[in-house]
């Protein structure tokens, strides 16, 4: 992935595949060059594409707002690499990509600091200016805004495995032969790569030795073989509620909150007390950063939208957009926090959020991800 140049990608576009893949918004690209005042295209994780978030902005601005949601970061970034830089105005991905990949590759452009710095003062303490993931590596540029975040390790049914046992045993639950056939795996392969490394007792966010890869492969084969099912978030929650499984790997507030809000508080995202991550941390947490795409004809609405979602009410709507419920950095603002009901706070595990974030390393890029993913995919095929 690192060898991709914009030129080669644009040449690739000649094939027409990119145009077809982006059928929707791309067909408006030429028109867009003429006038973008009333048009905004957002590439995001699910939630920002919901009508609850977009409709008020549409009626306020009278603009045509299109949002496409995808469920993994590399796909979204490659859409920009493949030439769709002219199509999108905003991109919303997990924390490291803006700073480490998209800015160096000139896929995104910095935000006007003076306009956006004041918003950080109203965020939760850990997001205070200058917030690492919102800034360029040298700290000179503001490259995106933080909003949703959450710990993301694994989920258990606390009726079967208590929170205490789960936190204390941690990732070794997946090494326990007695639990084979009783757990699921969320189909979220980038996170599964992290977690297989962690289950093998290895820090995922570093360059790995051949011995570590051997251990990774062995762990991947065993963990995937022992899984009752692999599926999406809905399948995991359904299997937990019905009793088909007792726990599932890769999961947390983002995945389990809809089930908790639906009357299943016994299902809970768990962050282990300890693990092989730097500082002995046991889990991984994500923070979404929304950046303006380096679109030569960027819609002026892109900045307006970024400001719009900072407002207390809209931030609360973003937190509880359809599909997934999450804490937002803007909860540091009392006006925003007060909008959350007790049930909503319970759904996002507010009671343990701080300690879980403290026990989590921040999502990062695995330097040898491609090799690990190939090994994991091969391990998956051996399930049958």
């Amino acid at each position: 992935m690192a060898h991709i140049s914009r030129r080669s990608v644009l040449q690739g576009m000649g094939a027409g595949l990119g145009a077809l893949a982006a059928a929707g918004p791309l067909f408006n690209a030429n028109k867009a060059f003429a006038a973008r005042e009333k048009e905004l295209n957002i590439l995001c994780w699910e939630g920002y594409n919901s009508a609850q978030v977009l409709d008020p902005f549409r009626s306020k601005t009278g603009a045509t707002v299109k949002a496409e949601s995808l469920t993994n970061d590399p796909t979204m970034i490659n859409r920009l690499r493949a030439g769709e830089i002219n199509t999108w105005d905003l991109i919303n991905v997990n924390n490291p990509w803006a700073r480490k990949v998209m800015l160096p590759e000139k896929l995104i452009k910095p935000l006007p600091k003076a306009e956006f710095e004041p918003f950080f003062a109203k965020m939760m303490p850990e997001f205070k200016w200058p917030y690492k993931w919102a800034m360029s590596e040298d700290g000179s540029e503001l490259i995106g805004m933080a909003q949703r975040f959450g710990p993301y390790s694994f989920v258990v049914n606390t009726d079967k495995i208590s929170r205490k046992t789960a936190e204390d045993t941690g990732w070794d639950l997946f090494n326990d032969p007695a639990l084979a056939g009783k757990y699921g795996i969320l189909e979220s392969d980038d996170w599964n790569v992290f977690n297989i490394f962690i289950i093998a007792g290895i820090d995922p966010f570093k360059v790995h030795t051949p011995e570590e890869f051997t251990k990774f492969e062995e762990t991947a084969k065993r963990v995937f073989k022992g899984a009752k099912l692999i599926g999406d978030i809905a399948s995991m929650n359904q299997a937990l509620i019905s009793g088909e499984i007792d726990l599932h790997m890769t999961g947390g507030t983002y995945s389990v909150s809809p089930a908790r809000a639906d009357g299943h508080p016994n299902l809970r995202g768990i962050t282990p007390l300890r693990g092989p991550l730097p500082g002995g941390k046991g889990g991984v947490a994500w923070i979404e950063i929304t950046s303006t795409v380096n679109n030569p004809n960027l819609s002026p609405l892109a900045l307006d939208f970024l400001k719009y979602v900072q407002g207390p009410e809209v931030a609360h709507t973003v937190a509880f957009a359809e599909g997934t419920f999450n804490p937002v950095a803007q909860m540091g603002n009392k006006a925003c926090f007060d909008l959350f009901t007790k049930d909503e706070l319970d759904a996002i595990q507010w009671d343990s959020l701080q300690e879980e974030m403290d026990r989590s390393a921040e999502y990062d890029i695995v330097p040898d991800y491609d090799k690990a993913l190939d090994l994991m995919n091969a391990a998956k095929r051996l399930r049958g």
Partner: protein, 305 residues
């Protein structure tokens, strides 16, 4: 129409330049077909050409048409690569689906033609109706039916029994899902095939003393064969590309080939490898289809030659 358009050119040798130009122009039919040809060219051919181009591009790059390598195919044919397992499952499940559907759909097709009478239309609608609902929704419906404490298990427990069988998240339930999904695609060509069998022939054979089995084997089956084979071919081609059943019902207990292609295009971001795999599968299905069609002389089967 084509004949009409070029008629003047045939009747007399073109004299002036205008006439010559006219003679060289596309026929009316060809011109009418241009929009469709263009649409097919863009919508059908262009993606195929792009996929073909990507299959020969540098792995994990977007250097389509600017690089040429066989590395992607080498990776797929590498003996340590387990992708053949996915291929094996897809082919095996597709073949089993076809075999099961041939047996299941035949009596229904027979009934629609000869037994159900005026109810045939209504029964046909029952088989078509599920197609109006998204396949994923229907498959999730089956999950709710089979899941622990779901419709089946819950009902059986309510009746005081020990509960339903644990069938979800297995290759077996994947096969069930495929049989369920592709039933109409086997049933309707088969029904048409059976409708082609002249009843007079069956009556004549019976009058001449042929038994039921003999009539079925010597008259009904051969004459209905075009429909049956087209149904089989259609079902096989669709089933080999099936993903949703293995994902939703099967809980990815097996990885099918189309899922492997999807992984290459998404999480792996290795479009060239995904394309090479797609090209291989396309060629395999294409070769199989052409082989089947070459063995299948529809005209002869229909008795037109």
């Amino acid at each position: 129409m084509a004949d009409l358009a070029i008629a003047p050119a045939r009747d007399a040798a073109p004299e002036g330049a205008a006439q010559l130009r006219h003679a060289r122009m596309l026929s009316v039919g060809a011109r009418c077909a241009l929009p469709v040809a263009l649409l097919l060219g863009i919508g059908f051919l262009a993606p195929l050409v792009a996929i073909f181009g990507y299959a020969f591009a540098t792995p994990r790059s977007f250097d389509v048409f600017t690089s040429f390598t066989l590395a992607n195919f080498a990776t797929l044919f590498d003996t340590t690569n387990t992708v053949w397992l996915s291929f094996f499952w897809s082919c095996g499940l597709a073949l089993l689906t076809v075999a099961i559907l041939a047996v299941v759909a035949y009596p229904i097709a027979y009934g629609l033609n000869l037994v159900f009478g005026r109810w045939s239309a209504l029964i046909s609608v029952f088989f078509v109706f599920p197609l109006f609902v998204s396949e994923n929704v229907r498959l999730y419906g089956w999950v709710l039916f089979f899941i622990k404490n779901g419709v089946l298990d819950g009902t059986l427990k309510w009746l005081g029994l020990s509960g339903g069988p644990e069938v979800l998240y297995t290759p077996g339930i994947t096969l069930f899902g495929m049989v369920y999904t592709y039933l109409p695609f086997m049933l309707f060509p088969m029904t048409l095939g059976l409708a082609l069998v002249p009843r007079d022939l069956v009556d004549a054979a019976r009058d001449l003393g042929a038994g039921r089995l003999f009539i079925w084997r010597e008259i009904e089956l051969p004459l209905a064969m075009p429909g049956i084979l087209i149904g089989m071919l259609l079902t096989f081609v669709l089933a080999i590309g099936a993903t949703a059943e293995a994902k939703i019902l099967g809980g990815q207990s097996i990885i099918v080939i189309s899922h492997d292609i999807e992984i290459a295009f998404t999480y792996s971001q290795n479009w060239p490898l995904g394309s090479a795999l797609a090209v291989l599968v396309t060629f395999f299905i294409g070769a199989l289809t052409l082989f089947a069609l070459s063995k299948l002389d529809l005209d002869r089967m229909l008795g037109r030659r």
